[in-house]
């Protein structure tokens, strides 16, 4: 996956599409804000300057599907799974016992926890995606590049006698929903795939590259300060624009 940050307008369509596709409930009223389940969160970050030199970038952060995924190594019950064919890091909720080690280990805050039973307003479970089971309270969960969609595409290909998927036959919900076409999806292993080419662009970078988790989500920006936020100053993702501290300048 390659996300062009210069195109992202922070509309949030990807977050909503993700929640609809993957049956993410809304948290109960008494829950603190920002405690709900989100598999993809769009952060609004600043350049550290103040008005009118303040600049904004919106950074959509799904699970990075790390090649060296810390979450896999720390899980005591093997509830985190790596698919060697696709490179997708999966989560098996039935195995998860809720210790949240994976959440602590993930440097991208890509995992969220089911603090409550997943409950929808009365009747609304009739609008759930039939391809994705709701997870139970007490389990960690995260983006899996819309596994249900991958299965559907594979079944369709199989019914047509194909093993391989056609380009664009399987895309995650966020990719489909993004109105600015900021999110690109394809096969990073195939050097002819446009997405693999984009990931090699001089403007491409990965979040927190120095941690050597080797994410499969790349970002694009032609702005140096944006790259700086993404590569090394991810703590800004958490502070985002509502910062307590005095402005710090990073250029």
């Amino acid at each position: 996956m390659v996300i062009d940050l210069d195109r992202c307008t922070g509309c949030g369509a990807c977050m909503v599409a993700c929640a609809v596709e993957n049956n993410l409930p809304t948290p109960p009223v008494e829950a603190q804000d920002n405690r709900g389940l989100t598999w993809l969160r769009v952060y609004q970050c600043g350049n550290g300057r103040t008005f009118p030199d303040f600049k904004t970038v919106f950074i959509p952060v799904p699970c990075m599907q790390c090649d060296h995924a810390p979450c896999i190594h720390v899980c005591p019950v093997t509830a985190v799974d790596y698919d060697t064919e696709t490179g997708i890091v999966g989560q098996i909720p039935e195995r998860c016992m809720g210790c949240r080690y994976c959440m602590a280990a993930c440097p991208y805050h890509a995992r969220t926890f089911n603090w409550w039973d997943p409950v929808w307003p009365k009747g609304m479970e009739k609008s759930l995606n039939p391809d994705v089971s709701p997870r139970m309270r007490g389990t960690a969960e995260k983006c899996n590049f819309c596994h249900g969609r991958l299965h559907r595409a594979r079944e369709k290909a199989a019914s047509e006698g194909r093993r391989d998927l056609n380009p664009g036959e399987y895309i995650p919900a966020c990719v489909e929903a993004c109105p600015t076409r900021a999110i690109h999806f394809g096969d990073l292993q195939d050097s002819e795939d446009p997405v693999a080419k984009l990931s090699k662009s001089p403007h491409a970078f990965r979040l927190l590259e120095s941690l050597r988790t080797f994410p499969k989500v790349f970002y694009l920006s032609r702005q140096d300060w944006v790259k700086d936020v993404g590569k090394s100053r991810l703590e800004m993702l958490r502070k985002d624009i509502y910062r307590d501290s005095e402005s710090e300048s990073n250029g």
Binding site: R7, T26, R41, T56, L128, R222, I241, Y242, D244, S247
Partner: protein, 744 residues
């Protein structure tokens, strides 16, 4: 014999602890324990059944995006964009993406209810539908008997639809009354244009997709302003994409909205100084002779006549003077004017933000004037005027009119003139001041709302009658105001309406019967069907336009269709009729409007001070600016999944959050993330103070929506209505008011 010492006991506990770590037993117990406590019978289950896809049109806002609905049996489970749809071009907004949730919205009303007692409290009691209808009919009969039929009003929050015809037919049957709407910023912008363009036979629209440069006066281009349709193209003009090139989008706005953040150039002007900037840009264009007078319409009041012409008027708006008022550097003002003149075709757009209220007539007139100077009327990539829709001459006598019935603005009514208000429950998508509507009501007035949800205008009503939710009844989607081209789409019912929901047309017919009137012919769905059939025949008979069919790849000319029935069939399966008629030329134009009617509006703000800001600066040191996203700002029900944006991330603010620049906050002794009281001469509200670097110093920025109820959280109650604090004009709220903020 071994004696048991303290050491032995410690050793034993140590051994047990060490053993437990390597034994699987405790882990197994923890894992099983979690599973036992995690699985309950009430856990949500997904539906099982045949999966299918339906193509249709979204009715949640007036835009009319083409959508693809995934169904399990008769239940819609998700809504996605329809590829290649001519209006939405393969995109939809976050509200549309959550639309499948709406029919289960917690604010949905499942029976008729009436307000307890008088006043606008929150307690409701059920009432039998027949009784509710009989009571409304009685009030109508009394109004008619006492000759006060003018006190009857029907408020249509989305005029121009087939159901709108039923509203006007009802008024005709009642023998009088007012057909009203609450005009949006776009409506007001269009009205001002009609004042300025002489004898215009069409409606103006922005050809955004073919323009090279867009100057937006606060319009949230990337945040639902025009639906999602043009967004993919507009995104090509975002920051850094064409490094070194002139910006594709210039955003004029005091605070850094998402659109301002992404625009190639952000002009952070002082609040309320838009007119001055537009006149300043006009000054540079005229002064440097960048105006191509041979290409546009005949301009009738550029030079002096009996009254000073526009050229002499803007002579005083030198970049230096405009700089003093707007806070922008003189070079930036001059450069922007030159860029706009050189990057032809360019467009200046107004119409305001969905939460902040419309721009005033003065601002709109100055912006349309700028478009005229930029050679922006009637050219591809600029302002185009679409012809009227083909007239619908129905078989029904009541229908012998073109289907562009113009409702009256509710703000133009005398105060206390409405005795019975029947309100349509469509979500207008923009915020409007409830206090202004209160003024129009007589002391004993009753509001009856035909609505699926207890939100938006329904919260002001005395009596609510449940109607079908979006997707549960047949609706049609006429062209959006300021759209570049006429379009027409249908949204057939996707799933059956529940038995408690009555069609608004049926409710009106029953009210008429209860008032002793005899409604002619069909009612409800059948009546809407007939109106729609008439419209489709009119479109077909005109021979105009093309038809987009989701099953085909190309737009087919309408005149290649067999008959109107084929057109109807394609529209029914999610197609869209799109006009191909040439734009209507604008022949002549007046900067000050017909008979100089816009002159006072333009002149009243040009000294850069809004009269409102004369409120004591010492007592109210801040400027309050409400804002909001399209579709969400108006208080209507939105899918609960939008909490992902409004509660579960910081992407979109909540109405209770007062955002303020950290420097201003510290100067006023405020603390970030603390409770505060926001007050204006109109009152005060409790808010949550949030420091935000993107807000202009001296400004406090508050979102108008979504309130918890519209998001489906009924327990938390409404939340603050920030517009109650804003100063109001005759037509809406002012986008800027003086305010004070303190910690509590």
């Amino acid at each position: 014999m071994m004696s048991i010492t303290r050491r032995t006991i410690l050793k034993m506990f140590g051994g047990v602890a060490a053993g437990s770590i390597i034994s699987p037993l405790p882990w197994k117990l923890i894992a099983d324990g979690t599973i036992w406590t995690q699985n309950w019978s009430w856990m949500a289950r997904t539906l099982r059944g045949p999966i299918s896809t339906k193509f249709t049109t979204c009715t949640l806002c007036p835009e009319g995006c083409g959508v693809r609905v995934r169904m399990v049996g008769e239940n819609p489970v998700s809504v996605w964009a329809q590829q290649n749809h001519p209006v939405s071009r393969g995109t939809i907004c976050p509200i549309g993406l959550g639309a499948a949730q709406l029919r289960f919205h917690p604010a949905r009303i499942e029976r008729a209810i009436q307000r307890n007692g008088s006043g606008r409290g929150n307690a409701w009691t059920p009432i039998a539908t027949e009784t509710a209808i009989a009571e409304t009919g009685k009030i109508l009969a009394e109004l008619r008997a006492s000759g006060k039929c003018d006190g009857l009003a029907v408020l249509d929050l989305r005029p121009g639809r087939a159901i709108s015809d039923l509203y006007t037919d009802f008024l005709k049957l009642a023998g009088g009354g007012q057909y009203l709407t609450i005009p949006s910023g776009r409506d007001l912008s269009g009205t001002v244009f009609k004042e300025m363009a002489d004898d215009l036979a069409g409606a103006p629209g922005y050809d955004l997709l073919h323009s090279r440069m867009i100057l937006s006066f606060g319009a949230p281009l990337y945040d639902g302003w025009t639906g999602a349709g043009p967004v993919p193209e507009l995104a090509l003009r975002l920051t850094g994409i064409r490094a070194g090139n002139p910006p594709g989008v210039i955003q004029v706005e005091p605070n850094q909205s998402p659109t301002a953040a992404k625009a190639g150039r952000w002009l952070a002007i002082k609040p309320g100084t838009e007119t001055t900037l537009a006149l300043g840009l006009a000054h540079v264009i005229l002064d440097e002779e960048l105006y191509n007078k041979d290409a546009g319409p005949a301009v009738l009041d550029l030079e002096d006549g009996p009254q000073p012409g526009f050229r002499s008027y803007v002579r005083h708006f030198t970049p230096q003077r405009v700089s003093d008022i707007t806070g922008l550097a003189p070079q930036v003002i001059a450069q922007t004017a030159r860029d706009l003149a050189h990057q032809q075709p360019s467009i200046a757009i107004g119409a305001g933000d969905a939460g902040g209220g419309p721009l005033g007539s003065g601002e709109e007139a100055a912006i349309w004037g700028l478009n005229c100077l930029l050679n922006g009327l009637g050219r591809r990539g600029s302002i185009l005027t679409r012809p009227a829709l083909p007239a619908s001459v129905g078989k029904d006598s009541a229908l012998k009119h073109p289907w562009t019935l113009e409702p009256r603005s509710i703000w133009d009514l005398p105060d206390e003139s409405i005795h019975l208000l029947i309100a349509d429950g469509a979500n207008p998508g923009f915020a409007w001041p409830k206090q202004l509507l209160e003024r129009k009501l007589a002391p004993s007035a009753r509001i009856v709302c035909l609505t699926p949800f207890l939100s938006g205008i329904a919260e002001m009503a005395d009596l609510l009658l449940p109607t079908p939710a979006p997707g549960e009844w047949l609706e049609d989607i006429p062209p959006q105001i300021l759209a570049m081209k006429n379009t027409y789409g249908l949204a057939p019912s996707i799933n059956p309406a529940p038995s408690f929901a009555l069609h608004p047309g049926t409710i009106l017919a029953n009210i008429a019967i209860a008032a002793g009137l005899q409604p002619p012919g069909a009612s409800g769905d059948e009546a809407v069907e007939r109106r729609i059939q008439d419209r489709i025949e009119a479109l077909y008979n005109s021979g105009r336009g093309g038809i987009f069919d989701p099953a085909a790849t190309e737009i087919k000319p309408s005149n290649e269709l067999r008959d109107a029935e084929e057109l109807r069939a394609i529209l029914n399966r999610g197609g869209c009729w799109i006009d191909q008629a040439e734009p209507v030329p604008v022949t002549s134009f007046r900067f000050f409007g017909k008979e100089g009617r816009m002159r006072p509006a333009i002149e009243c703000v040009t000294n850069g001070r809004l009269e409102l800001l004369t409120v004591s600066e010492k007592e109210y040191p801040l400027i309050l600016m409400p804002h909001g996203s399209s579709g969400i700002a108006g208080g209507g029900a939105v899918p609960p999944v939008l909490t992902k944006l409004h509660r579960e991330s910081n992407l979109r603010p909540f109405p209770a959050q007062a955002q303020i620049n950290p420097a201003t906050g510290r100067k006023l002794g405020l603390k970030n993330r603390s409770s505060g009281e926001l007050s204006t001469p109109a009152g005060s509200l409790q808010v949550w103070i949030l420091f935000n670097e993107s807000v202009m110093p001296g400004v406090v920025r508050v979102a108008t929506g979504p309130d918890p109820v519209s998001l489906g959280d009924l327990k938390s109650g409404k939340g603050p209505d920030i517009l109650q604090l804003c100063a109001i004009t005759e037509r809406s709220v002012r986008r800027v008011s003086r305010a004070a903020l303190r910690m509590i």
